[in-house]
């Protein structure tokens, strides 16, 4: 087990270098210059533009820039400096990350509890009316685009009923985060419940479940331990990759509810050609994905005793 983890951790290194290099090259390939962009229509003094470009190393060849950048990250945990504001990227990350973590975490809990709950509920009643209605609800949730759902919820709960605030003014207030978290969770929630339902329905007919029932085990134990453990493997796989998506892909939801998180920061960095900020953000997301997938693989062994890592 220890050797397996070590191997996986070592594998992360090339993946990490590859992704950051790719992103660095892509940002570099985009037309537009972040320093020139600071000046807009008015044009700026060429001396200042040259001085700024020099300060941020933009006058160096791309690979030298990449090398310096990686050196900074690895040796000093220094993710560089934002060109516009002159603030360290780590500060910018520090502003955005807690907000996104809270929102993403909240959405993840909703997705986990409701998704698996609905899936088990439907799976145990496969083919019956309850199953069909869950199917319909989840299909609906999958097919409605996020921003439509966001606007509908806002209109009902904020404009008409006035139960909730339309936007997030204080990102530490979970009451205000409720609506965006629900919106963010819905699509994944539907996938989770579909996956759980299929897996449960299939395993219900498996030999080991029949054996368990025949042994006279209580239904709660059959479902909760024998059935669930096996059925959750595909669900866990999906959940693992979804963590990254919840953290990085919340651009639309963040925009609708005016949450100043990672998604919006990524968007803004692309628009402003803030390569260093962008690479910093994505590097962290890459790390999140890598760690999540490692955890998922390790969870397999916990869930299914037949899986062993030597």
């Amino acid at each position: 087990m220890g050797r397996y983890v070590a191997r996986r951790l070592l594998q992360m290194i090339p993946v990490f270098i590859g992704t950051t290099l790719l992103i660095f090259l892509m940002v570099y390939a985009l037309p537009g210059d972040p320093v020139r962009g600071l000046f807009g229509d008015k044009g700026g003094s060429p001396q200042v533009i040259a001085a700024l470009r020099h300060q941020y190393g933009l006058d160096q060849p791309i690979l030298v820039q990449y090398w310096d950048y990686m050196k900074g990250i690895i040796l000093h945990a220094d993710f560089g400096t934002q060109i516009g504001s002159g603030r360290p990227v780590t500060d910018v990350l520090g502003d955005a990350f807690p907000v996104t973590l809270r929102l993403g975490g909240f959405a993840f809990v909703i997705e986990l509890v409701l998704g698996i709950g609905l899936g088990v509920f439907a799976g145990l009643r496969a083919g019956r009316a309850a199953d069909t209605s869950v199917l319909m609800v989840t299909l609906l949730l999958i097919s409605v685009p996020v921003f439509v759902l966001g606007f509908i919820l806002k209109w009902i709960f904020a404009d008409e009923l006035q139960w909730l605030e339309p936007n997030v003014n204080d990102p530490t207030n979970y009451g205000e985060l409720l609506m965006p978290a629900i919106v963010l969770a819905t699509a994944s929630l539907a996938y989770v419940s579909r996956l759980t339902r299929t897996s449960i329905a299939e395993n219900m007919r498996a030999d080991y479940v029949r054996t368990a029932i025949a042994k006279g085990l209580p239904r709660r134990r059959v479902v909760g331990v024998h059935l669930m453990r096996n059925s959750l493997i595909p669900v866990v796989t999906y959940l693992g990759t979804d963590i990254g998506a919840l953290l990085g892909g919340a651009v639309v939801t963040e925009g609708i509810f005016n949450i100043q998180g990672i998604g919006g920061t990524i968007y803004q960095s692309i628009v402003r050609r803030e390569g260093t900020t962008l690479v910093g953000l994505v590097t962290i997301l890459v790390l999140v994905y890598l760690v999540a997938s490692l955890l998922v693989d390790l969870l397999y062994a916990v869930l299914d005793p037949r899986i062993r890592y030597a």
Binding site: L30, P31, G32, D33, P34, R36, G37, L38, F39, G40, D41, K42, G43, G44, S45, P46, Q47, V48, A50, A51, L52, Q55, G84, S85, G86, R87, D91, V92, D95, A96, K154, A158, D159, Q162, E165, P166, N167, N169, P171, E254, G255, I256, F257, N258, Q260, G264, T265, Y267, Q268, V271, R272, R273
Partner: protein
Amino acid sequence: MRGARSAKWVAMAAVVALGATACGGGDSDSKGDSKAAIDPNGTFTVESGEPQNPLQPANTMESYGSIVINSLFTGLVDYDESGKIVYMNAESIKTSDSKTWTVKLKSGWKFHDGTPVTAESYVKAWNWAANPDNKQTNSFWFSDIAGYDKVAPEKGKATATELSGLKVVDDNTFTIALTTAIPYYEYKLGYQAFSPLPDSFFKDPKAAGEKPVGNGPYEFVSWDHKKAITVKKYAGYKGSNAAKNGGVVFKNYSTPETAYEDLKSGNLDVTTQIAPKDLPVYKQDLGDRAIDQAYSAIQMITPAFYTKQWKDIDPKVLQGLSMAIDRDTITKTVLQGTREPATGWVAKGVLGYQPDVAGDVTKYNPTKAKELIKEGGGVPGNAITIQYNTDGGHKEWVEAVCNSITNATGVKCATDPKADFQADLDARDAKEVKSLYRSGWVLDYPVNANFLRDLYGTKSSGNQSGFSNKTIDADIAAADSATTLDDSVKKYQEVEKQLVNYMPSIPLWYYKVNAGYSEKVSGVKFGQDGDPILTGVQVKKK
């Protein structure tokens, strides 16, 4: 800036788009609402966004930073609503030859940290900002001052660190020597880059950018990055525009839609823009709390004169194209009344603005348009493209303009979208525009020279089209060397009248502010730069 209203992500993109600069909004006497009691210490919230740069006066160009800087700093002069100059920290600004200016300060002004505002505070601040080593985005504003070429030479190393044109006479007096005469120079001094800075700034400029100490009506309280900036009333303020409220919170909004929702639900007091989605309803929603007002900015399409197509074009062709654009209909329908058809090259509310200067050329007339294009030898290739950036909400109107031209004249017109403003600028800087491009201009100082000299002079910083005309250059030089301001403004008016014969760009429309405020506040007005006048806002007692 507010020119870009309709795209979804406009608020963020807009920061970059057009690189709007904002000059100090004129102070205006707002009439208090008699119905509700006013709380002089009440605070209110304003829609804003994360400033792109540190809060250093000479380093702020975009509107999110400008609005904060303007509340924290008061420079020598400001402008009133008609564009007339008002002396703020300056007691007098005198010149006999428009080349050497003597500035006398009002005494007794203090920075928020208690240190006095002296002539030294100005001279040191300007020297610092002009030095390219300090990388201030507005440093070219000091290029009129003698000695700038030594501090920031185009090539080679700097031979001086201070502008030789700036001299401190005594605590409250300093002189500015310019390289050439500029009769309207004192108007330029209203720009925030000319703000004074306290001694503490130079000890740690970086920290000062995070926690600015100014001399304006408000003092800095906190900057919660990406969430809000808070300022409070400065009790020791000596200027005529002391705050009528206790303070302001600039709240971050990533889209105008969310800001509008917060305005309606009482979580925001002043919005600075209305999303296209809400434009049809905002006047009904807000009643007399809706704001619909022109400000001094203009939108144009500009031919790239370095291309084969426009190199030696007969201006008649461009006049024809201009007459093929149905400005009235497009502003009313596609732009939902957020713009006003332009009739010249200088925006409204600027000293020297003259209505209808372009005459028929900005009036829709398909028959005449066809004739003019024919007389001028036709559009080379009989096809044009208009380059624009898709992140600024320009798509709809560019298409409408194109359709209007094609329908009226039969000239084929295609749009040439660039993914974002940066890519658009890149193409313009590299002189790769294929035919025509969208351009905009927001006032820096309310004199018509700003809209003429800085855009159409052969060597002007804002001239990206390669337009060059000896007559215009000579007339601009003549207007700059006029002895008095009035004379200079008049000469620039003549320049504007002539532009119709050369068509350096096709003016389309002037911008309007579409905004609103909550029931909690009154006296909300917008200045010529399109920003709300914060000091005049009154907060009602709860």
